[in-house]
Amino acid sequence: MSVILIMWLRELRRYTRSRAQIVASLGQPLLYLLALGFGMGPVFQKAGQGNYVQFVAPGVIAMTVLFSSVFSGIGLLFDRQFGFLKETMVAPVPRFQVMFGRTLGAATVAVIQGTLVMIVCFIAGFRVVNWTLFPLAFLFMGLIACLFAAMGTAIGSALENMQGFQLIMNFLVMPMFFLSGALYPINNQSKIFSTIVSLDPLAYGVDALRIILINRSFYGLPLDVTVLSIVALVFVGIGTKMFSRIQV
């Protein structure tokens, strides 16, 4: 068995064993879907944009994948604090493989979480417009997950303790979510705002999911897939570099 596979398996084992955590991590997306989905519904309808639950569901799914993958990546911090990281750091295997297996595991967990939220969306009344494109949704969830899991690993390698974690949450992860257009349409925005949004990789993920699930496009699939792939590769590169530089 290879190092990548065993690290991937480890992430999955840990995920399936923490049932309380699975339920807890579904809480926030559900709040956005239900409270915002139904609360904002009438205003959204009056503005001529259609059904808000329908609009926000792809955004909420993308958000679930974002949070889940970043957290798993940052889980590295826990491995550092609880000592397990040392075990992987002294082993005679390329650190790239350790990092990569871990990132793939985190990404897989994030896709599972995203799928769970998608099921809840269906229960809440969300309907897919075009089923032929539907399988692509998983591909894009996987791409978003890899991108942010690698980002999380890079951050987890650089941080030494939990204090820095709050900083990352408030100044990186939350802004990425709120600026991605997950909760509101990004067309007809001011030029400055549009530029900021276009710098947020998650915006392309949300756009892709929206195209696939409700046939509503802003950037278009070719641009989405290009940006997401390039940024994912860059983060895997950075993550590998940061990870192999860790000293414990």
Partner: protein
């Protein structure tokens, strides 16, 4: 050629010099003990030897390879039992062994045989399918040791391996370590606070204090050098009798915080 060659090794953390210009050699097949009070620099030295920390300056060689430039080849040559925990609490005992076996390229068949042998030796076999976070402190310690012995490395680093172990387990451990040393020619580099253990197993001892090696000899040599009857007296006469305290680092603080918040994650 010595198996471990250390020359003029220095490690500084900011203004604090943890390891201050130490030099020593360990020959192949030797059991070498590093003794010193808390905070003397023992663990820092082991961390540098095992590629976990980069030295500030100095030469570090294992089996003729520079630890700094050939870190991955060097990692193939040693096994280590850490002073503080390094297990994954959310995996079972058997899974921790499995992961270690895969990381050290132990063939599956050998891995399963040795896992069974070692878990039985350290009386963990019945609990192999329980999550490690449900183990007692002693069980975790025993699992760390069993895991460290899963593959047969050229050099075995043991950083205070018997901390918190009962006499029975300590006895098992040292018997096994001696056996490895004699039958499989494993070189052992150990640190401990227990002088009787050092006297029992070590062929050569270096005493380190405030980051400097203050004496280096056989157990008998150290006693002669200081004109004392036991190794403990020799140790105290070389290092004085003041009590040292290690500064709590951010990791320790976080562990305490995690405990405060329920600590049920691991």
């Amino acid at each position: 050629m010595p198996l471990i060659h250390v020359e003029a090794l220095v490690k500084k953390f900011g203004d604090f010099t943890a390891v201050d210009n130490i030099s020593f050699d360990v020959a192949a097949g030797e059991i070498f003990a590093f003794l010193g009070p808390n905070g003397a620099g023992k663990t820092t030295t082991i961390k540098m030897l095992t590629t976990l920390l980069t030295p500030t300056s100095g030469t570090l060689e294992i089996d003729g390879l520079s630890v700094r430039t050939h870190s991955n080849e060097v990692r193939k040559k040693f096994g280590i039992v850490f002073q503080d925990p390094s297990l994954d609490g959310d995996m079972t005992g058997a899974e921790n062994m499995e992961l270690h076996g895969v990381f050290y390229h132990v063939p599956r068949k050998v891995r399963l045989e040795r896992t069974e042998y070692l878990l039985k030796l350290f009386e963990l076999w019945d609990r192999r399918t329980s999550l490690v976070k449900t183990y007692s402190g002693g069980m975790k310690r025993r699992l760390e040791i069993a895991r460290g012995l899963l593959h047969t490395p050229k050099i075995l680093f043991l950083d205070e391996p018997t901390l918190g172990l009962d006499p029975q387990t300590r006895n098992q451990l040292w018997t096994h370590v001696k056996h490895l040393n004699q039958e499989e020619q494993v070189t052992v580099f150990l640190t401990t606070h227990y002088m009787d253990e050092a006297e029992r197993v070590a062929q050569r001892i270096a005493i380190i204090d405030h980051g400097k090696i203050v004496a280096q000899s056989t157990p008998d040599g150290l006693k002669q050098q200081t004109g004392t009857q036991s190794l403990e007296e020799a140790f105290l006469s070389l290092t004085g009798s003041t009590i040292r305290d290690e500064a709590a680092n951010s990791n320790e603080q976080l562990k305490q915080m995690a405990k405060m918040w329920g600590g049920n994650r691991r």
